[in-house]
Amino acid sequence: MTEVPSVHGREAPSLSAWRAPLYVGWQLTNACDLACSHCVEESGPGKAFKDELTRAQVRRVLKQLRDGQVPYVSFSGGEPFLHPDLFEMASFLAAGGASVKIETNGNALTRENCSALRRCGVHAVQVSLDGAAAGTYRRMRPAGDFDRVLGGIRRLRRSGVALEVNFVPARFNVGEVAEVVDLAWREGACGFYTGRLIEAGNALKRAGMAPTREQYRAFFGVLKRKAAEYKGRMRVCYHEMGIVEELKYRTAHPAALFIILPNGKVKLINALPFVCGDLRTDSLGEVWERFQRGWRSPKVARLVAGLERDPSALSRLHRWVDV
């Protein structure tokens, strides 16, 4: 038995060895009830794509994921709770044997929704919490309500669904990370996830949002200590790699993981504009083959190589390019 350090680890078998993706990140809608300062997807109220999947198309995609035995599917957005079929979709995949995770801003964690998540067999809900206090939180999520999210988190835990907390660092909240880790633990989280701010989407439109080099150094130092402090009790996971480094690494070692956009198009990776298929018209098998070829495309290599000179190319991630 060989342990691959992560889904996209260096020791992972080549993509062609897998018969289907191991992990699918499905962005259910581009609509969101918040409009966060850092949002890579530039989601917000009224931002749903005009051509998002219909219910019939969603069902076809679900069946393909189930038949392909994709073991892990995460639903995100936009805000996944705004999708009318979220619970049915989660139930369908969970009943078929997949682990289903939902990544949410936490606004919709009512008692009814938390109970429904439990009944659906959702394995974890990841809630974004980018501050230890309401003021900081609201700077990242101007329409957000810190207390409402905390209430939702508590209802989620009472319903028995596993909680994970996600923290996006910015210059104004990075100093609170230790408190947020502690808060996550007190609220019953089983995992805490963070990394560097992805300077794309809305984050690019706001000058001075990214933490400074010194702030990052202190940030990762705190996380290292917190990971040791909570070892065996709560996973504190963080990626120190910046997005350019990450993309270079992923080009050399692609993961068996792809992203389904709200309209059924499939991206190689979220931070790049490359699209390798469309699940409205193509089968999962066809898209999976193109995904493998896509990572070998010179277009991908050229763009990633150029990012070091011009990281602003990341701003074009929503101008999709076929590979």
């Binding site: 038995m1 992972a12 018969r19 219909t54 219910r55 073991p71 049915e88 139930s91 394995h123 089983c190």
Partner: protein
């Protein structure tokens, strides 16, 4: 499929044919459609994106599609029920919660989806996990493997038990 589970399948089919969806038994009657809703079915899709309207022309098609789904779910639930019966036999093992198994050309993969750890298995490892999923206990694991695999080197027992120890140590298999 055992008699009870076959009976359940028949009950669901009869309910679908007759439109009588209440299951009588101890406690309050349960709506099969309500129960089905929690399993990903939409017997009467809500109005919305691409949904057929109530009483519209697409309803028979939707009914056929839902019926197909129900059939699949009955099959799957029956298999799961049999699996869980096996788990309750003393001495048997099962994959830990959130550990997913998928066969691959090179053997198989175990994916612990909470920690997002991936373990690749060769064909022998895959055979061991298949035996566990089929209800093998530690005592009869090797015998079950011998029924299916050739033991050319004579090391099958030692290797299988050592592998099982690793699976347990990593928390991938529980008893």
């Amino acid at each position: 499929m055992d008699e009870g589970l076959a009976g359940y399948g028949e009950l669901v089919r009869r309910a679908w044919r007759t439109g009588k969806f209440l299951v009588k038994g101890p406690g309050r009657p349960t709506s099969l459609l309500k129960a089905a809703g929690t399993l990903g079915l939409q017997p009467r899709p809500r109005a919305g994106r691409g949904a057929p309207g109530r009483g519209g022309e697409k309803v028979p098609e939707a009914r056929r599609s839902v019926r197909g789904e129900m059939e699949e779910i009955v099959k799957r639930e029956s298999a799961e029920a049999l699996g869980s019966l096996a788990v309750h036999q003393e001495g048997t093992m099962k994959l830990a919660p959130f550990v997913k198994f998928r066969e691959e050309k090179f053997g198989a993969v175990l994916f612990e989806t909470r920690s997002e750890k991936v373990f690749t298995l060769n064909k022998t490892g895959a055979a061991v996990v298949r035996a566990i999923l089929a209800g093998a206990g530690e005592a009869d694991l090797v015998a079950r493997l011998r029924e299916r695999c050739e033991d050319k080197t004579g090391k099958l027992e030692a290797e299988a038990l050592s592998f099982l120890k690793q699976l347990k140590k990593k928390g991938l298999v529980t008893e």
